[in-house]
Symmetry: D2
Subunit: 337 residues, 4 copies
């Protein structure tokens, strides 16, 4: 049994970590921190968790946290983790950072996030299907939600050196924007609508570029446009992939099957994925179709942004880092319908 | 480990039974039947279950079923169970019927459902908070979804003899109407809408009347009007209860707390429940407010219609009938957000 | 051609007034005021109106407003109108107040809204189906959205002296809560949900009581519970009406038909109304069903809360006050689907 | 005053034609045909139109139709119009066909729709912003909904010879799939979801190719993938356009402004369009952003699929064909919120 702390646990990612961890066989949630709600019961903020957690939110120092926990999740705003992580790391403590701080190299981070990076160490990018070496690390940078869906959709083809250019057109549920109400998340604005944003400049792009160009350094024509849709959860990514030669359905299918053959959370399906089948689960469903006229493969991936795109993946990383079964605590299907 | 069969397992209730049972520690799903889909893989119909069940749908006789199963769930249309149950029951087999056939006395059934009842035995009404004696039975009639939410909202006050009259005004997610598309469930008709129906004549009314008037035979002024709302899951019931004397918040609170003190799946909350906190779970959340001017207590209950209103409650019954912990396999929180 | 001013025109009601008035044959929108957006183009805030209005929001005094306008709409927060109206009224200016200030008597207002009333004049309650005398007034208090749907559903029976008690159970789209994002209107909280609130204490209750008890002074058992549902627009009211004697379908139908025979915006329908058929329109659709066992008539009314429940009704009042055809500028059907 | 007939008027497009035409100053709806509902009142099927139309559906021959109408709209299934149109056309009758039959050349039609074409005349493609010559025709092929949004988003750049390749990624409300319930339109499947389909083979592609390659014959790399989203109405198209040289924001803006300068229903906006601002209206809102790194212009267009994508555009065509003002009867803003 390991003791777990969650820093910044009043938001959606924090709530989802708790929801999943209370049913994890080998973890005890020791601490949930929140400055805003310190002293309040966790289940007064996350009302669905009534009966599952009796803790109150605390506001304690990283040092005290480290003393009480074996594994620490950071679900804090970008630019915050870098100031906490160095104090947390030692030989006894494992840290999974769900912020963007350590996902990309510090120079790119500074350019995109406009924050000086105070801890420039190199950290593994915690997409375990791509980086199984997370199992040997004590600090892991949990990927962005869009990046998870996009990279998983294109990696097998990128790794095969088949890609000429990609356009990721992603559709996300609105929880990706967090727990605080805004004009965008206001029901009268979001319902019955679809809202593209940051058409050419979303920051998750850097993660996609980093990971995919690492597989094929000639692959530089990568493009990404996000949209929010009227859905609480989920990210569906339509990857329009132009290949550098004609490919067949059988070939692509076998490339994907082979690439993900050891990954329990990636399901290659025969039809076209949708959000419904992965809702609430840690799966990434992938399907595709080929347009031979234009050497285009349209790959579609579907994830739950709060699970495979955040909390579930963080627990998947924890499982690997701690030597548990990769699926421990997160092996359940989506809620359909 | 017990072997379980699910008759009529291609619909929503069947899918939900499978989703829950694959993670139940003491059950093995032995048979899923479906006439329509016989020979097809279960996970081709319930796509979210890919990786969780390798069975194909079968179409077999009740007798064969009985030989292979310890517990049988019937998720079949009304009027069908009565023809199957007599063949299933013996000293080794437990049966949970999710249809309406055995919920109400056969005379009332015949009047409401227009079907002659061929098996008039008296069967326990499987709302375990009200009828803990389900644990001694080998046949249980699993309650209707509306009835579950309505009866749980009013039982403590009915049991205290405090009720003069009740109006249950219920709002249901559209999955209550099943897996087959209709004009009502057509997205352009259901989205951004609320549709009352059977304003004075819904058949679940008979269950509410039977159970509540059993607690207080003077309680006969019971009324029920259902609505469908743009939600996949969930039933929220607003119970407008007129009391026969003035009651205080403290009194009502203590009546509910006392009544449900041994029931893990009923949560009395301080605020007003909503569907979000019970989504995907087996909980019934209950809250209330008092209008002293008119001796009215407005009690609100929220359940997930497919879980506490159907499959989850059926498993709760199975747990009790089989001597498992009541919460086995269904002790997880709702998915919020 | 009359010149119209709209005070507080940046919110939903203001936007809807503009949307409707730009196509009104006899009005010219002269002024739109907004403190917050003064100097900005109206169509930069109400983006759907691009091409329909070239004004900028202004922030001007009531006196200047009066000089430039024949008719003034007030779409301001409660407690604000009472300070403006006295300066606006003169023999040349007509005022329609969409706030609560003049809907109920000042004593009740003070109790409910916690604001001292500085202008205690008696003002007609601007539900033109009930108070055709609006046509002779130069100040009209436009009704609350819930009150409009509730009063219209019950008036014919109240007027006939047939009602013993009423429970109004209303389901409202979330635009009723205004343009500013809140936790309640946050898409992840509102979608797939239904949220009851103010179970026994919503302030619109006072309007319902005032108007219905005016028709039948013995009618005092009136109850009201509101809910928000996942819909942008619309209020559906389920009126559970207990009658003091048994009534027949034919009798009730003829009572409603007769009562509303001169009212173009009330449609008595044969089935059960829903929000879809009135969306975007000024109609109130009404249907009902009778439960003879309990002397209960369940009447359902459906309106668009921003049109018949606010801006459309205000224009209907303006039409009557100015001697235009009652339907001028608001005679179009709902948008279905 | 012209007499209008609508063939196939019981579906969404038919209903929308009626909704709009009843408020058109110069038209009288003379006939609404429907085989299925012949003899029933139009307003019993299109319930929102109660009070606006007193006709019953008829089932009459094209010849009789022609004798009673000046303008005929065909809202019939693909493959049906070609059998009716030849009988309708004469010097006195104008016909607007909303089916696919005459949109593309008959050879392509036969390939895509698998139906032999019995009337191979060449007909103008009725996108009036691109083909103002509709005003001189008596038969017009009203464009597909996806095609309308896609072509309008890319035409100015195609016309300037600036495009190297295009990926149209479109998100459509579910009414595009029609009035009959299906598994896709079933609320539990559509809500909280996004469903890509026909990833590389949707038939509207042929219209996009035909129109855009007509502007620039070197433009052949055109791709299209459609999705349905949880929205009743609307199509948002994200056009990922790779240009053959670097372009600036100012240049693109002026190209669009110049191209559409005489088109009242295209609004070039500064931000990013969304469905909300065009809901219920005949507008096409267009915005864009430039990614200079990859010579990519991301253009976003938003339309209401039933108005600008079908019925509204048909009336716009009628206005031009009949010499009315182009905006007659369809000059109103979207319904926002």
């Amino acid at each position: 049994m390991i003791d777990v702390g969650i820093i910044g646990s009043s938001g959606y990612t924090g709530g989802e970590l708790i929801r999943l961890l209370v049913n994890h066989k080998y973890t005890n949630i020791e601490i949930c921190t929140s400055r805003k709600f310190a002293g309040q019961k966790v289940s007064d903020v996350h009302k669905h968790l009534k009966g599952f957690i009796n803790l109150e939110f605390e506001d304690i120092s990283p040092r005290d946290l480290k003393n009480r926990c074996d594994v620490i999740f950071l679900a804090v705003p970008h630019g915050t983790s870098m100031n906490i992580v160095p104090d947390l790391l030692d030989e006894y403590t494992k840290v999974i950072d769900l912020s963007a701080d350590y996902r990309i190299n510090s120079q790119t981070f500074e350019n995109l996030y406009g924050i000086e990076h105070s801890d420039k160490r190199k950290v593994v990018y915690g997409l375990p299907e791509i980086h199984p070496e997370v199992s040997e690390k004590n600090l892991v940078a949990n990927p962005g939600c869009y990046s998870t869906g996009a990279i998983l959709s294109a990696s097998p083809l990128a790794n095969s050196g088949l890609i000429d250019s990609i356009i990721f057109d992603s559709k996300s549920g609105i929880t990706g924007a967090g727990v605080n109400p805004t004009q965008t998340s206001h029901y009268p604005n979001m319902a019955e609508n679809v809202q593209p944003y940051k058409l050419t400049s979303h920051r998750h792009y850097a993660e996609m570029f980093q990971e995919l160009s690492m597989m094929d350094e000639s692959l530089i024509n990568i493009n990404f446009t996000p949209h929010v849709i009227p859905s609480i959860r989920g990210i569906l990514t339509t990857a329009h992939i132009f290949t550098n030669r004609q490919v067949s359905t059988e070939e692509v299918k076998s490339i994907y099957a082979e690439y993900y053959k050891d990954n329990p959370f990636v399901r290659i399906i025969d039809g076209i994925p949708s959000l419904s089948t992965v809702r609430g689960s840690n799966f990434c469903d992938i399907g595709f179709e080929i347009d031979v006229n234009n050497n285009r493969v349209v790959v579609v991936s579907a994830i739950d942004n709060l699970v495979k795109g955040a909390a579930g993946q963080a627990i998947q990383n924890m499982n690997l880092m701690c030597g548990f079964n990769e699926t421990e605590g997160i092996w359940f299907s989506g809620i359909t319908p």
